[in-house]
Symmetry: C2
Subunit: 419 residues, 2 copies
């Protein structure tokens, strides 16, 4: 009889077309926030086929709103179910959570797409469509791994908990709901698009808004006013100064090839009403990166304090301090010890399947892994088949080969981890 | 018999309440662009009472659109009449145009107003309401001057041409229509809110839009993108550099007390879509001041050339040049020789009525006087009772005393000029 690795490989080869078809069906359901039900139905159908114990529920927003880590622009999750399936182990083994999010970001300006964003067409080994990389491809890797183990009847002592959650793209309310519902494990894997790199650390992030004041005047006598646009430039400069000092303190080898490990990005600016008037208010909206080991509250205080220094370089800010608001989405940072046994097991199987050592890095963005780490106390590794470069952009795609490689690596990891 | 100056003064005193009532009625008609007819009807009623020859017409927009100086956001002037009344002289005298605009800017955010913007209420000698200063108060000064001369039956040899025009606030299509209809005179007076200063020179202005390009990227890897917000700051800085060099060349004594005679104001900024993305485009909208003796085309070229220099300081702009568009409103600059006889006559009567010499300055903003000068070849003086500080703002008002002082000064000027 073949050893278990080979049996998994063979099973995946034999079931390749079915796996591709399943991914296509999932991509063809546009599951933007608030419209996840039909895509979840396809996941549930597969889970039923596997004979697993399934938990489907619409998270209760009033309960979640009490939670300090809850973030969401939504007012209800009615019609937006979370799905969890448990494959109970025989007992005495280590457990694992396999977590993927079902929500996708909007397709955006359709004119940028060469194919229908929900065609799931395959060209040269790549499947195109919104959500292929982020992260339905990854979720299919998880389902294939699970199905292979079920089909091959490989005995596991630990539990395997598969989760298809809502709301990752808006700050993780779906995973938070799964954690507060009581789902726990010794480790979690999230196959977000890492380009098959292994991320033991994930950067967190929070959105902020800076309201900069000026004083209106007619443009012909602009010296009688104070331009909020000019003041906004001073503020922008000051914020980048903080980015510099913050990043100078990061010496984590996982960040050694990253120019700015924890960026502060000001992504949006608007202010002023009239070309002929001096702008009396400008708003800038940005994203503050949070290092894997930082507390979000501390980072918030750091920005607050730094903005207060503006009064030293320009007395205007003494009487007109910049208003700082934390708003919208946030992603909690996460970290797992690089020497954690789950890291070793995953790396080992990566090396066996891919015939090379994995690249281990820290993620430049947040995932639900932060909530698993900080709220659920579950060490989390992010590792998936998609690529960030195409996520959230037109013509998003995934290389199909990688979906199966990832499935194989994760199946082998589960088998060893939960044995 | 009293001399003519005293008779004018007395007549104005005797007809004070009627004059105030007329101004109130005019202010109570909200005459924003496109809704000038009811206010014009009040003007026409008064002109009929004076027994003048009246010309009422809706400017033909298709004809005006052929004119190089035509600027307007409108597609038709149907329902928006211009009104001109001519008091024919006995012959052989110098003629004068008295020009006021009937359009007002919108009242804006109502919460800023302490009274209804169209109440025309009088408190402590000030009448409150949109358009009191800019410039229905000035137009009433003109009508009172004209009425005094008619009522006192003072013989004039030159023609007096009274104009109540539309569209000053959007670039002067109403005055342009009056000029192209053939109304000419040896001088024009426009009682815009100069705070009773005399402006022989008026700054022109034009609106521009700068589109600055960046390169999008995820905020967590912002170093992979190029921030259009940061690039916009470089552009803003470069534009202010041009303002500095342009103003360094202005030595006109009329500007000696003005910190920046011909400002370039960037009044509006917007760009970027998402706090977590690097902004790939930022637009800035501004107003370029044009010195009284400058040609607008030359000033446009100056800005174009200066923006081209950006490529020298930052190679990004070589491949991604800033897009410059001239859009929206523009006001042609205007100038009359400070030694022009009309300046002397006006200054003389100002001094007699106010018992002090007038302040003579250059205006920081454009008026229809630019069109009179450059298109109609009619030297124009801007002199009126309102104040710029309140124009276009909530709680706009005018000091009633000044409306009558201005009427008296202008009546005396007309009598001498047209005698």
């Amino acid at each position: 009889m073949l050893d278990v690795d080979m049996r998994v490989k063979q099973w995946l080869q034999l079931h390749r077309l079915k796996g591709i078809r399943l991914l296509q069906r999932l991509v063809q359901e546009n599951s933007i926030s608030g419209h996840e039900a039909s895509a979840q139905a396809i996941v549930v159908e597969k889970l039923r086929e596997l004979g697993l114990q399934i938990d489907i529920w619409e998270p209760n927003i009033s309960n979640l709103q009490q939670h300090p880590y809850f973030v969401s622009p939504r007012t209800t999750f009615v019609g937006s179910p979370n799905v969890v399936a448990v494959k109970k182990g025989l007992g005495g083994g280590r457990s694992i959570i396999l977590n993927g999010h079902i929500d996708v970001v909007p397709e955006g300006d359709i004119s940028g797409w060469e194919l229908d964003p929900f065609s799931a067409k395959i060209i040269d080994g790549k499947m195109y469509g919104r959500g292929t990389s982020d992260m339905k491809g990854g979720s299919i890797s998880l389902l294939l791994a699970l199905e292979a183990i079920q089909a091959l009847d490989i005995p596991l002592r630990g539990d395997v908990i598969f989760q298809s959650v809502i709301e990752e793209e808006s700050g993780g309310a779906g995973s938070l709901a799964a954690i507060t519902r009581g789902y726990k494990a010794d480790v979690a894997i999230i196959p977000e698009p890492t380009n098959m790199k292994i991320f033991p650390k994930q950067q967190g992030s929070m959105w902020f808004k800076l309201v900069v004041k000026g004083k209106s005047a007619h443009g012909g006598t602009r010296y009688e006013g104070v331009s909020a646009i000019e003041k906004a430039m001073t503020v922008h400069h000051k914020v980048l100064e903080l980015e510099k000092t913050r990043n100078a303190t990061i010496h984590d080898p996982l960040y050694q090839s990253v120019p700015i490990p924890v960026p502060i990005n000001i992504g949006k600016i608007y202010g002023g009403n009239w070309p002929s008037s001096v702008a009396d208010e400008v708003t800038m909206e940005g994203r503050m990166g949070v290092a894997p080991d930082e507390k979000m509250e501390n980072v918030q205080k750091e920005l607050e304090k730094h903005l207060a220094l503006l009064a030293e370089i320009d007395p205007w800010f003494k009487d007109h301090p910049v208003e700082l608001k934390w708003f919208g989405a946030r992603w909690v940072p996460g970290t797992i010890d690089s020497e954690h046994d789950a890291m070793k097991v995953l790396s080992k199987h990566f090396t066996k399947v891919k015939n090379r050592a994995p690249i281990i890095e820290a993620s430049p963005w947040g995932t639900d892994g932060g909530l698993f780490t900080q709220v659920g106390n579950i060490p989390t590794i992010v590792f998936g088949p998609g690529t960030t470069e195409v996520a959230h952009y037109p013509n998003e795609y995934i290389e199909i080969e990688r979906v199966f490689d990832t499935a194989e690596i994760i199946a082998n990891m589960i088998i060893e981890w939960c044995q």
